[in-house]
């Protein structure tokens, strides 16, 4: 800031100060209206007490949603693929989609390769493919996990941008 800036600003500040110092003309009935409001019985505390809590809960919820959304964009995408030229559908079930057969259908690409890419946080996940809605097929490219239920299960360990 130069000295000329300060000189040109001073008169402006002076004018603002003068405006602020002027007495404010109040409505002559204002005082009586305020006193009447004050004589009213107080509102139930519960009614007003909810407001800050509700606002806090709403803000926390929104912040959580934003954080989850932000994090999902930063997660490494892991590819799941299966060569199954004669299949009419292939879906993916695992620890990342609540083992829901409808949650993650794979898309059929060239030469009968079914594939999808999922953003996954670093960790260890068990999964398997379901072919044509009934056949459980493990991922031939990934390690098998000991199975507790008599169906083949594969495992993927996500470590940042790479995968095991």
């Amino acid at each position: 800031m130069t000295s000329s800036d300060e000189e040109s600003r001073d008169p402006l500040i002076e004018r603002v100060v003068r405006e602020l110092q002027k007495p404010v003309a109040l409505d002559p009935e204002l005082e009586s209206r305020i006193m009447a409001e004050l004589r009213q019985p107080p509102l139930p505390t519960l009614g007003r007490g909810w407001i800050p809590w509700a606002a806090l809960a709403l803000a926390a919820g929104l912040a959580g949603m934003l954080l989850v959304s932000y994090d999902r964009h930063r997660l490494p995408k892991v590819e799941f693929a299966l060569d199954m030229p004669n299949a009419s559908s292939v879906t993916l079930v695992g620890d990342f989609n609540n083992w829901s057969p409808e949650a993650t259908p794979l898309s059929k690409g060239s030469q009968g390769r079914w594939a999808t890419r999922l953003p996954l946080a670093p960790g260890r996940y068990q999964f398997t493919f379901i072919v044509d809605g009934q056949r459980w097929v493990p991922d031939p490219a990934r390690p098998r996990a000991p199975d507790d239920f008599g169906e083949p299960t594969s495992v993927v360990t996500v470590i940042g941008p790479a995968k095991l």
Binding site: G49, W53, N98, G123, R124, E151, V155
Partner: protein
């Protein structure tokens, strides 16, 4: 008073909702749901991660396993998570516990996990444990797999080093 009640309800509501996971309700029969929920509640009360147990139950449901098999699998996993936490220490992360439980399930011993913690100190052991589980699951003899992972741990190896170890075994096993 009303503020106190409201505060308590906000604090307690998530715990009440968590008592029975809504994802399990439509997927398990009533008896299995009750037993599995009880195991999960108990694990949660002990400070163990509940999510792997929920996923194990959902896996069983998706594979149309009998209720007894689902209960058995969830109970075994909860027990393994406890054993792993004892071996690795109370400050272990959820991912370490899950990977350690997978290693135990595959056949690794609690002693091997304890030794890994001793060598790794405060390092995150999720990847070394996961690699150990994979090696054993793939048929590598438990002692040999544990020794390989422990040897690597003595060199202050990175997660990528463990990845290379597993890939080396993968390569050896390919015809």
């Amino acid at each position: 008073m009303s503020r106190i009640l409201l505060f308590l309800s906000l604090v307690c509501l998530p715990q009440a909702l968590a008592a029975q996971d809504p994802r399990l309700a439509g997927r398990l029969d009533a008896t299995t749901l009750g037993t599995v929920s009880s195991i999960i509640d108990s694990a949660r009360a002990d400070g163990l991660p509940a999510e792997p147990l929920v996923q194990k139950a959902l896996e069983g449901a998706s594979k149309r396993a009998p209720g007894e098999a689902i209960v058995r699998a969830v109970r075994t996993l909860a027990s393994n998570l406890r054993t792993v936490r004892t071996a690795l220490g109370m400050k272990s992360s959820d991912q370490e516990l899950l990977a350690g439980a997978a290693a135990l399930r595959a056949g690794a011993t609690p002693d091997a996990l304890r030794e890994l913690r001793r060598l790794g100190d405060s390092r995150n052991l999720a990847v070394p444990l996961s690699v150990l589980a994979d090696l054993v699951s793939q048929g590598i003899e438990v002692t040999a797999a544990s020794r390989s992972v422990l040897d690597l741990a003595r060199t202050d190896a990175s997660d990528e080093d463990y990845l290379r170890l597993k890939q080396r075994f993968d390569g050896d096993r390919r015809p």
